[in-house]
């Protein structure tokens, strides 16, 4: 299932947040979205997932989600969004119950996604007993449980420390290698974008416009730290972001 954004524009009150964004999100690939703070990345993700309606333009779904897919567009939130009163397994079963999946059928799915996120031992733990990285793995497990056609990740690693981030990033790559999912991955972190993105969309400062769309040809599994091609790309992204930030500062000075 592909997604297409067709000249999407969005405003909050009088303030334009996103302007004229057209994008294609092909199946089985990860699109990273970067841009200065407040440029509307989270808003864009909410529009893609149908949590908000664009003021102009539309978000289109091409093709039908694959069979067995319970929730085609599935989020992984920056702050995990786990129910504190439910155990790890309970948080996952939450999203299955509404589809009538209970008992042994649910247990099978839960065990499978917990194994894939290396959380087997924490089946009955409550969220407050988990570290930040583990909480985000639970959130990823919960997303995997509904077999999404598209995963929408809003800075999923930014609440975590550098080592955990590194490990989780490897986990994400491994998950994608095992079963390629379509992803839209919003991040502040250029290294993450370069590591995970098949293509990278760079947004301008607010109102967010698509500044550049960069394809990264290196297969995910082959991306090693220190790869000169990737380093050069990261430097280029940094230059783009720096220009935007400096332009934004300039606007402030002019006011």
């Amino acid at each position: 299932m592909d997604l297409t954004l067709d000249r999407v524009t969005h405003r909050y009150g009088d303030m334009p947040v996103l302007k004229d964004i057209s994008l294609r999100i092909p199946a089985g690939r990860i699109l990273c979205v970067i841009g200065p703070s407040g440029c509307g990345k989270s808003t864009l993700l909410r529009l893609i997932g149908g949590l908000e309606r664009p003021d102009e333009g539309q978000v289109l779904q091409l093709g039908t989600p694959p069979p067995g897919c319970l929730n085609p567009l599935t989020y992984v939130f920056q702050d995990f969004a786990l129910l504190p009163w439910r155990s790890v397994a309970g948080n996952i079963s939450l999203v299955l119950e509404d589809h009538g999946i209970r008992g042994p059928a649910a247990e099978t799915i839960i065990d499978d996604v917990l194994a894939r996120t290396k959380l087997n031992d924490f089946h009955n733990a409550l969220p407050r007993q988990l570290s930040g990285g583990m909480k985000q793995r639970v959130a990823i497990a919960r997303a995997l449980a509904v077999n999404p056609a598209v995963m929408l990740l809003d800075e999923p690693l930014s609440a975590l420390d550098a080592q955990t981030r590194e490990l989780l990033m490897e986990d994400l790559v491994a998950l994608w290698e095992r079963a390629p999912f379509t992803g839209v991955y919003v991040t502040h972190n250029l290294a993450e974008a370069v590591r995970l993105g098949h293509s990278i969309a760079v947004l301008s400062r607010r109102p967010g416009q698509l500044r550049e769309l960069i394809d990264v040809d290196v297969p995910l599994a082959d991306r090693q730290p220190g790869d000169p091609q990737l380093e050069a790309l990261q430097a280029r992204l940094w230059q783009l972001m720096k220009d935007e930030a400096m332009a934004a500062d300039q606007e402030l000075l002019d006011v």
Binding site: T74, F77, A81, L94, E97
Partner: protein, 264 residues
Amino acid sequence: MSDAARPVPFRGGGFRPVAKRGAGLAVFVALLALMEWGTRVGWISNLTLPRPSDVATTLIDLARSGLLWTHLSLSLSRLLAGSVLGITTGIGVGVAIGLFSYVRAGLIPLVAALFPIPKIALLPLFVIWFGIDEGSKYALIALGTFTPTVVSTYGAVDNVDRTLIRMGQSFGLSWASIVRKIVLPGALPGILSGLRVSIAIGIILLVAAEMLGAEYGIGAYILQAGSLYDLERLFAGVVILSALGVLSSWLIGLAEKRLLRWRV
């Protein structure tokens, strides 16, 4: 500054309630001991405060005569019926206010208008509506517990983490599932702590209701004692009320411990 090594001063303590067993009991015992001692030695005259041991004897006599159970069972059933009625409708209305904009717009002013009315002032009206018997007492307690429960419940629903609700929507949960599995459990801490206030108000109104037109009941007992200036019996009644307050607060604490185990 000397160069000697010193441990860094600890500044991190406090601000975290820890269960201290018996502290509450110790405060009671100390106060009672002070009163007992004061009345025995004489710097508290018997006219200002009854002697705690006399109050205790009065209580024991009351229990022996069997009247204590008559009073207590009547009062408890009134409190239970009235507050169950008031609290359940209060929680229902509070949740509805929290969930539906029209209900909120329509009912919040009404609740705000009802809340400050001293419910005791309405007792004559209730007597006309529901009769002099139990009905008017139930209604008074129900109305008295209803308003604070509504206010604390919709506050609790408003305070449920919006990101959790968004999460539920993003996974396509039905409206009913979101309410039952996210909104209600998330509001439970606020609702339970609101119940403490509601039940205390219920006890206050129980006594008020029993002071008007009741033969038995703790309120009636206190009223009789008061009109005779029988301080021992008056205080015996007050002790029973306080015990009711402590008991209900303890029950809610128990419920909190069981239901809110997930909290830190």
